[in-house]
Amino acid sequence: MTRKMRRLSVILACGAGLGSASALTLSAFSDNLVFFMSPGDIATHAPAPGRTIRLGGLVQAKSLRVDKQDGEPVARFVVTDGRTTIPVSYTGILPDLFREGQGVVALGTIQPDHSFRAQEVLAKHDETYMPKDVADALKRSGHWNPAQGPAPPASTWNSVTASR
């Protein structure tokens, strides 16, 4: 085998590795990209049923209740961006940081009855910090204008209800 052939085989192997990596990436991107949506986004252009999305917003005050379904406890609450609301159901233990009136990010799918079924609920924040996604959703919904000062502390979001 000549030197040229050897070099060619190495280059071919590199090409095969990178080529398969990019092919896999592209095909996985088309199926598995998860879009972040606020309740308002879902109302205006709903995602395809079965498509996994991330829903972000605030847990509406006094909306949390837990009931039983097939022997398993199901948490039901309402997520709002200040304008639009969407009911969410979740089977499992809510994260320790989950509070009414605070930001939440849920991963799941839209059900035929236009409710949101969460597979995963994240509440990665503390008293003063609001997840960036949630803050952006609030800004877009017009509920909070950054020009008028910093976001009010999360505890006061308890008063947030779906207006209009």
């Binding site: 590795g17 896999l24 199926d31 996994t52 039983k68 406890p73 320790d96």
Partner: protein, 652 residues
Amino acid sequence: MIPELGHFALALACAFAFAQAIVGLWGAHRRDMRLMAATPGLAVGQLLALAGASLALVLASAWDDFSVVNVAENSAVAKPLLYKITGTWGNHEGSILLWGLILGICGGLVSVFGRTLPSALRARVLGVLGGTSAGFLLFCLTTSNPFWRSWPAPADGRGMNPLLQDPGLAFHPPVLYMGYVGFAVPFAFAVAALLEGRIDAAWGRWVRPWALVSWCFLTCGIAMGSWWAYYELGWGGYWFWDPVENASLMPWLTGTALVHSAIVVEKRESLKIWTVLLAIGTFSLSLSGTFLVRSGILNSVHAFANDPARGIFILGLLGLVIGGSLLLFALRAPLLRSGGVFAPVSREGGLVLNNIFLCSICAVVIVGTMYPPFADLLLGQKISVGAPFFNATVLPLAIPVFLAMAVGPLLPWKRGRLMPLVTHAWWAALAAVAVGGVCAGNMAVLPALAFGAATWLILGSFSEVIERTLLFRAPVANSVRRARGLPVAVLGAAIAHAGMGVTIAGIAGMSLSSNKIVEAKPGDQFKLGGYEFTLLSLSSEPGPNFASRVASIEVTQGGTPVAIMRPSKRNFASQNQTTSDVAIRTNFLRDLYVVLGDERDGQAVLRLHVNPLAPWIWLGALVMAAGGALSLADRRLRVGAPSRLRAGAVPA
């Protein structure tokens, strides 16, 4: 007073680092022996100053000096002493200081163990390390100084994030950082080699142990992080493809490639340019991983700070280090001449294949991790890339690696044939097919395949050892004699490869885990995975700086008691936060895992898991690291080992 001393020591270390960079690089350039001889002393001085600064921060925290902003924001009087000490590196400022300290340790070790290096190479390596260190210490001093004071001092601190109050945190960051920062040494060697325009086998022999040590630490650090997520977050998972986890996985992948390609440089003087690029790439990924996460550019639980000044400084520094080294690479790499040629089917060929696939996996992980923030920045799209993406892309690329890594070491250097692989490893392949077949009858396809792959790896990895000792074919005494003469590195490689198999078996077992969410009152019994879980009682118990609710659960198997498990929920009053304390019982073949959720009307939500083979995931990582450590003990790696004996005096 103590914080001022610490602040001074930090500034001194920064000055030492600058001096080390200038004296080392200038001295090597001018071939000035006196300047070159001065660099090790400067590196040790930098290390001592950094040790002093770290000690000062630990003391300030242990003695509750709340006039120090960093202590006031992350500590509290009621915090247990262990966490006052370990908490110093659980926040942004402290972790940067720890980062600097470990870089200082690397410099110190190069000065002490590098006495047999050519003096110009050593001066250049220390100069590059000093320059990197200077940049980050300057970052620490100007934007994230842990010694900043505030007056008047608050009466009590804000306390640390309760999630971080855990013994795992005491060791996870230092071990992980040893891994990240350790790759600075191969990086410095690579840059020094580019400056000199020369790489030889001795260079490979120097770089490999450093890369291997860092790789072992990084492996342990990643495993500890995953284990921490498993028992502390209480989600029942062990890997979430969170940006920060990916940030540690990326340098691990290229670091693994580096450890392998350095063998080729050392043994065959081939793949030199590629190895230099890998050394630069691995450290660049370590850097960008730690700092992109810390700067809050990647949205993650681990983001400490969202300060734009820090972000810009970090980006500038990253650009300087990574861009500078890549520019140097582009300019100087053509000077490095490659040595031995090899056929595609050969040990070198196998290692090239390993490198291609590891780097492809790394590329995929980079795309998945970096695309969301860039899409947000450039296109304004809010997207995330989750586990399904990574599973769909990483798995197909990892399978060829698993297939090849068991038998790759059987190939001879330069040129080989595939047939001997079949004759030497057929029994491992047979066992793998048998295990896979038996599993396929009882479970889904993917876990069955994974169990087959794990068997293949664990058994096949030892085929080289068996082959070289003529086990079962020669008399036992003969085999024992051959085993004694076997290079330790061969055994180390076999163990490390088998460790990967153990981890795969653990991951496969974990995918068969069963779980159940129940609402229970005392006396209720639930069946899961062949076990009965009975809730005995719910009670309140006090803790040092928290109050907890504890559930007592009796686990039985067919009536015989197995364990009493006590998961709890802790409420930290000072931060008004709750954390879950998971109860785990393991017998190394399965984990029982119980999480306590919310309570209402005397009923508690419980999540019960039975996780088969779960501990093997982390056990495998430990085995891998042990294999790496074992091959470090190989005599062939210790360059100039005899000459070290004559140097009696300890350098300043």
